[in-house]
């Protein structure tokens, strides 16, 4: 039997992938939007619904970022409500290990697992700097390495609590010194599914040690295959087999009646995603300096990026550029060769949709990725709220089912069961 594809539905995020200017775009906060996407995903027999989290509104140049969708619900609260309108869909929430406490979060996740009949999942993130901390008692209290120490110990403690079956626990470690009675009996999954979404070596090791799945951002075929090997090769050291950790990149797609039609649509969406104002802001994220005086229809800046990773111009979002100068020079070369303005260059080099074509072509590309070990499945990121996955579920899912690489019915009642995890 060919490898089976994992599919998840990402609620459109607070970044420029989400197009709010489209007349079809709906509310980012009304429950009806969440319900629509979750029901669509369940109609398509998806494995899970996925929510990102950011514990402070993004800022750029010291101002609240106003060009993208802003505002979202509390992760766990909205997932609990979604349990009421779905029956088999996994409910995955991103929750920060730095600004939560193990007893409280483990209790909430176990509660969600009970209230959903075994469908809870936790995407563990650690945050990327002190920025979020200003909303919390402790402030920005850990650096990068310590955040991972805390995250690892956090997951271990959560497991201890989940395994305690409502009983007594005690934990004394570098990060936490806690004891008492957990109060939540063993939940349907035993342990809610744990995803990890950090890309550094520490992040990958943490996943290899403690996670059930990785939400990755590696989606070009060879890069994804390299990442896949890298992470799976880390598993034996922790006594785990290769199937016990699923790799699921976040990807986007555009469907058309013909491949050319899809390309045209993709280009139109890219222009919606990269407005003139957004083009300058995205360029600033690489250049790490104020470029507000530059004309989006004009040439790229002659000045070089500012190489100060401790004080980046954008706050509240993961860094995307490990080598700013190198990337800037690459972008300049492309702009020069193709005679591109700032906006056209940004459209060209950032966030192009990953899978573009007819439903048939997209289905075969997705299948190829999974069968050639670029990944184990996909977290699909639609660009429209809330109907952005309707066409995928109507057109692509049946083709994947025909290929025998995606379920026609849920085989288990828990998320763990549907993911084929022990």
């Amino acid at each position: 039997m060919p490898k089976q594809i994992i599919l998840a539905a990402h609620f459109p995020g607070v970044n420029n992938t989400t197009v709010w200017s489209d007349p079809r775009s709906g509310s980012q906060i009304e429950f009806a939007s969440f319900e629509h996407l979750a029901r669509t995903a369940e109609r398509g027999k998806f494995d899970f619904f996925f929510l990102a989290e950011g514990l402070r509104l993004r800022e750029q140049r010291g101002l609240i970022h106003d060009l993208d969708v802003v505002g979202r619900p509390d992760t766990l609260t909205v997932l609990a409500a979604l349990a009421a309108v779905t029956t088999h869909l996994g409910l995955a929430g991103t929750l920060n290990a730095t600004f939560h406490e193990p007893y409280e979060l483990a209790r909430q996740l176990a509660t969600l697992d009970h209230l959903s009949g075994g469908r809870a999942a936790w995407n563990v993130v650690t945050s990327h700097g002190p920025f979020f901390g200003e909303n919390f008692r402790r402030g920005g209290f850990l650096d990068h390495a310590d955040r991972y120490t805390r995250a690892g110990e956090f997951i271990e403690v959560a497991r201890k609590l989940w395994d305690s079956d409502a009983g007594e626990f005690q934990h004394t470690g570098e990060q936490f010194d806690i004891k008492g009675r957990f109060g939540v009996p063993r939940s349907p999954q035993g342990r809610p599914v744990v995803l990890q979404a950090g890309d550094s070596a520490q992040g990958r090791d943490l996943a290899a040690r403690l996670a059930d799945a990785i939400f990755s951002r590696h989606h070009h075929l060879e890069d994804a295959q390299r990442f896949y090997r890298d992470v799976k090769d880390r598993l034996p050291a922790y006594g785990r087999d290769r199937d016990s950790l699923k790799i699921i990149p976040g990807v986007s797609y555009v469907l058309g009646d013909t491949d050319a039609d899809a390309q045209e649509k993709a280009h139109y969406i890219r222009r919606q995603q990269v407005t003139p104002q957004t083009a300058v802001l995205l360029l600033e994220q690489l250049w790490n300096r104020d470029l507000s005086s530059y004309d989006p229809e004009g040439p790229l800046p002659a000045v070089d990026p500012v190489l100060d990773e401790a004080d980046t111009i954008i706050k509240g979002r993961a860094g995307m550029f490990p080598d700013r100068l190198k990337t800037a020079n690459e972008w300049r070369a492309i702009a020069e060769a193709k005679k591109l303005s700032i906006r056209d260059l940004v459209i060209e080099v950032t966030g192009r949709q990953n899978f573009i074509g007819t439903a048939d072509r997209v289905a075969s590309l997705l299948d190829e990725y999974v069968q050639t070990d670029a990944c184990d499945g996909f977290i699909l990121v639609p660009h429209l709220t809330p109907a952005g996955l309707d066409d995928f579920v109507d057109q692509v899912v049946p083709l994947l089912q025909e290929r025998g690489v995606f379920r026609s019915e849920y085989s288990a009642s828990t998320l763990r069961g549907n993911l084929g995890l022990a």
Partner: protein
Amino acid sequence: MTLRIAAALNGDSFDAADWISAAREADEALLDFITFDDAFGRRGPDAVLVASRVAPLTRHVGLVPVATTTHTEPFHLSTALATLDWVSHGRAGWQVRVSADPAEADLLGRRAPLGFDDLFTEAADAVEVVRRLWDSWEDDAIIKDVATGRFVDRDKLHYVDFAGEHFTVKGPSIVPRPPQGQPVIAALTHQARVWERLDVDVYFVTPSDVDSAATIVRQLPARKKVFADIVVFLDADQETAIRRRGATTSDAAVFAGTPAQLAGLIAGWEPSGIAGVRLRPGAPTDLTAITRDLVPVLRERGLFEPSTATTLRERLGLPVAVNRYSPEAANA
């Protein structure tokens, strides 16, 4: 005068079906709201999540979970309750609780238990922060202005810049202002010094009779809504109810008798100036007796008229929550 009728759910079930059936009973009887008990360390599910789990399956009843300020981050409290309000279309409330229990502090391991005074200073600060965060988005902050490419008007988003003795919070919230603007905040209180500190809308109090109820109501600011808690054992015959009550003791008055007798007691308390009663079922079957047997009697006697208001605030007669950061507030 008709009263508002609430019920306190204090179950510890982890089975969603139990909560759904209780919430639906209350919803179908058109009770004004239900509260969900909680405390760290107890055997039982997280109350905010239970309230959210039943929200899409109910249409009328207000949903008021207990959440403790002592250990939970005020920022998380604010966003969770705002989200409950979004999910329930304006039916959310919050019963504030503090924890002086060292065993609860050990579960978090972050610090030693606070003394009584500090606990309430901190709770008052938490309530203030939660309220500021709810107001940190003006209602018309989302503009979707295609011409300028702006989704929000950032001048209508506000840093709350709270700095208290126990914590600081920058803001703004990550959740847009909830439908009620300010979801309803309640607290159970037995002592006057607590009343003064917390900026809450509703007090649950525990009078023993109509006179003590009247005394409590007089001590509180007139705009606060006072609900008298009563533990109830309800049966068709008084003897069964009394037998079931046994030696039950409580901080609140304990009633055992028939629905008609309870209606009589509530009628007797009505002149004290209370806004309503919160009935604490002695056993799960007592919730059914409240919704099926008591409510019709109360309606017949004109003591309870189901509300037609869609938000909990409006139903309780609370004023429209003017946003403290809005131009209206500045002009007021």
